[in-house]
Amino acid sequence: MRIELVKRPQRSALFSMLSPFIAFALTIIAGAIMFALLGVNPLDAFNIYFIQPISEVWQLHELAIKAAPLILIAVGLSVCYKANIWNIGAEGQFIFGAIFGSIIPVLFPQFEGPFVIPLMLLLGMIGGALYASIPAFLKTRFSTNEILTSLMLVYVAQLFLDWLVRGPWRDPQGHGFPQTIQFGDWAVLPQLMPDDGRANWGFVFALVAAVAIWLMMSRMLKGFEVRVLGSSPRAGRFAGFGFNRMVFFTFLLSGALAGLAGISEVSGAIGQLQPVISPGYGFTAIIVAFLGRLNPLGIVAAGLVLALTYLGGEAVQTALGISDKVARVFQGMLLFFVLGCDTLIHYRIRLIGLALTNGAAKLEAAPKLEEAR
């Protein structure tokens, strides 16, 4: 048996809409098989994984806390990927945003007032953008592959944070724990509805960023530039769009958003710097970006789904004793199925039996070939 792809005359609007849902359904099926293999009743597992974590109001707040960084980062990455520029080091930019933003509460805890939070957020964005400018600079100046450099910088950022919180920034009164001092009251990102749950302003930032980027991509020249350079760099050059400028633009934008996510997470959800501040948000955001079809509004929905996989992973760990790595597996499978289903947008898939149908396929394909030309 063989798989054959037949190009559609134009992209299918139907599958463009359906593919994330098909992918989600396939993930559920594969997940059911996985749970069954682990010796757990899949229905019970799904109830614990997907339903229970969002059945009360405070849990929805937890969902928003997890979704905020994912959406913020993914929205920025979607612009990169649309331009065919591959920033996969958002995890590192997230960490540097957190470090830069924490300069104020850690080194200047005496600063108090309403200006503290905006300053921290600004510094966070600068930190993320600066860190993202390294692969952008190397790509434009030396045409070094940005995939590898941005990824290598993740490891460097993690080690740098580790050194900071164990060394110069360690809380002297922290009984030797590797962590900074707790942020002061003015340096904590306020909660949205403190009576109901912990969700903070980070989620609002995420929604605002999504809408803003959506406007940029669909209504502004810059968005057009991104799309043209992404689908046809040659056409972009003829139109006078600079490729190098675009590399910097997309890296700085996605870096700044990742940095904002980093400082929001530290200031809103954690309250201090620790050796590890992210359960892989920067990488999971790549999945969010693709699941959302690189569309900022789709990314909001995708971010909520992926946030749920984190909560579900924690839930099955406590309830069923399955490793919370199961969340990573779900996320990985989801991305696989999304990419696979996206093929349906541009191609019809046909399964061909052995030798028998070979000639028939050729006959059928011939007129299509003419069409394509």
Partner: protein, 306 residues
Amino acid sequence: MDITINILLTIATAATPLLIAAIGELVVERSGVLNLGVEGMMIMGAVGGFGAGYLTGSPWIGLLAAIIVGALFSLLFAVMTLSLATNQVATGLSLTLLGLGLSGMIGTSFVGQPGVRLPNLDIPGLSSIPVVGKLIFGQDPVFYISIALTAAVMWFLFRTRTGLTLRSIGDSHTSAHALGIKVIRYRYLAVIFGGACAGLAGGHLSLVYTPQWVENMSAGRGWIALALVVFASWRPWRVLAGAYIFGAVWIGQLHAQAFGIPVPSQFLSSLPYLATIVVLVLISRNKRLTMMNTPASLGQPFVPDR
């Protein structure tokens, strides 16, 4: 003297997984496919190899399992990118993410368990020759496999007709297809070979280098292997040289930490990653060299139009 030999031995041990994974990826990229899933296939090989070795007690079965697991895992990538023509960058990334998650889940029960280690070669008489004995005749079996593999790939790519065909597919899949070459079939085989190599490299990590299972124990080696292929401008012998340079950096920073050099250990630990960036910059500065050697259709999806 003994110290020097021991350092050389550990460098070889550190370089071996990089070399094997990079040689496999080199063949894949020569066929025009960019598989960014090396890290994922490697870690799956590591957990598969450890698991099989731990359960059967035989490191050899472990090593075989690592190869098979790596190859099977790469098949997932092959079906996606070759049969379904998905974006290779995104698919490779998802292979890595899935591999890191899956290996963590599978390996939960292996954490802290004692592993089995492949014994070093020991040829009576030869292995005890001073100085060279240990270096040439006393290393772990995978070391010899890695050297043989490099030579074999060099011979295959540049001295055989099939190798020439493979390279031509990497340079222009449309021309190759027009000549009647089965592009997709070649690429399938190349990707699976790359997966088997990455699996073997992972098996080396969990059966020789540190015979135990630690989550994320590949620690970015798969990515460094990818960088090595670029650094080597797609030439096997340069991969060999590059792998040993990186092995030296890796071991050098470990020794520096042990000696208590007054530099924070985190900075030393980040050296291999920074070194990767530096060599990538150095090599890609020379645009003509890179342009000339990069397989021209690298990373582009191909759908035969028949």
